[in-house]
């Protein structure tokens, strides 16, 4: 399994290539990308900061939990830090499993857990030169994430769907 914090552009094809097996009939690739607006305000870019050593171990834990859930170790997740432009990939998650339900579920689980407890923060940079750290989630104050029926909606902390 791959679980990395990187400070270089992520190559989605490489993350997808890290999973897959002849026994697998389904592969899922999730990409989180920087979008050009938040709360109606035009965004120039995002700066991501991580508590790097802890983020690597929390990301590995999340991948292990997803692996247990899905019954596979074919999981790869990569989160980028540093200065990101509109359209850049901030996080890539790939999973492959024999059947599609487990792959979709595992990918969803990983992104929800990242948002809930990975020690990473983002600062939005606006066209007018202003910059703001976005509000986030307090790890552990919410029940263990279960895959919801509907979308999460947290003010400021969703940069992609």
């Amino acid at each position: 399994m791959l679980a990395r914090i990187v400070d270089q552009p992520i190559e989605p094809a490489a993350v997808l290539a890290a999973v897959g097996d002849e026994a697998d009939g389904a592969s899922v690739l999730f990409l989180g990308t920087v979008r050009d607006h938040n709360d109606g305000r035009p965004v120039d870019g995002l700066h991501y900061e991580a508590y790097r050593e802890m983020a690597e171990s929390v990301l590995a834990e999340i991948a292990e939990e997803a692996a247990e859930r899905a019954g596979t170790r074919r999981i790869a997740v990569c989160h980028r830090t540093g200065e990101l432009a509109i359209g850049d990939v901030s996080v890539a998650i790939a999973v492959s499993t024999p059947h599609r339900a487990e792959a979709f579920d595992a990918a969803r689980y990983v992104i929800e857990e990242i948002k809930s407890r990975l020690p990473v923060w983002k600062r939005e940079c606006y066209a007018d030169g202003d910059a703001e750290w976005l509000p986030g989630d307090v790890p552990g104050r919410h029940a263990q994430s279960s895959v919801p029926g509907g979308p999460h909606s947290r003010r400021g902390s969703e940069h992609h769907g």
């Binding site: 901030s90 996080v91 790890p139």
Partner: protein, 81 residues
């Protein structure tokens, strides 16, 4: 005892630094550390009463007793992904 304090994101901006070495009485808790930092004034006076902390890279409660050499990170609510 001496602990290494790490601050991130908006908390680092408050402190003006990402790293501090703090002396505490033996057995002091993480909560005690936060109180000391807040009482020290300046930007750190604006830290919340009960921020999230990690001790040696594991999330921990503020009632956890610290030991010499611990690394205590004070973490704003997380916003990854």
């Amino acid at each position: 005892m001496r602990v290494r304090v790490l601050l991130f994101a908006s908390y680092r901006d408050l402190a003006g630094t990402g790293e501090l070495d703090i002396q505490l009485p033996r057995g002091a808790t993480a909560g005690r550390l936060i109180r000391s930092l807040r009482e020290g004034g300046d930007g750190l006076g604006k830290l919340p009463n009960e921020p999230v902390v990690a001790i040696n890279q594991e999330y921990a409660t503020l009632s956890t007793a610290l030991v010499d050499g611990d690394e205590v990170a004070i973490l704003p609510p997380v916003a990854g992904g």
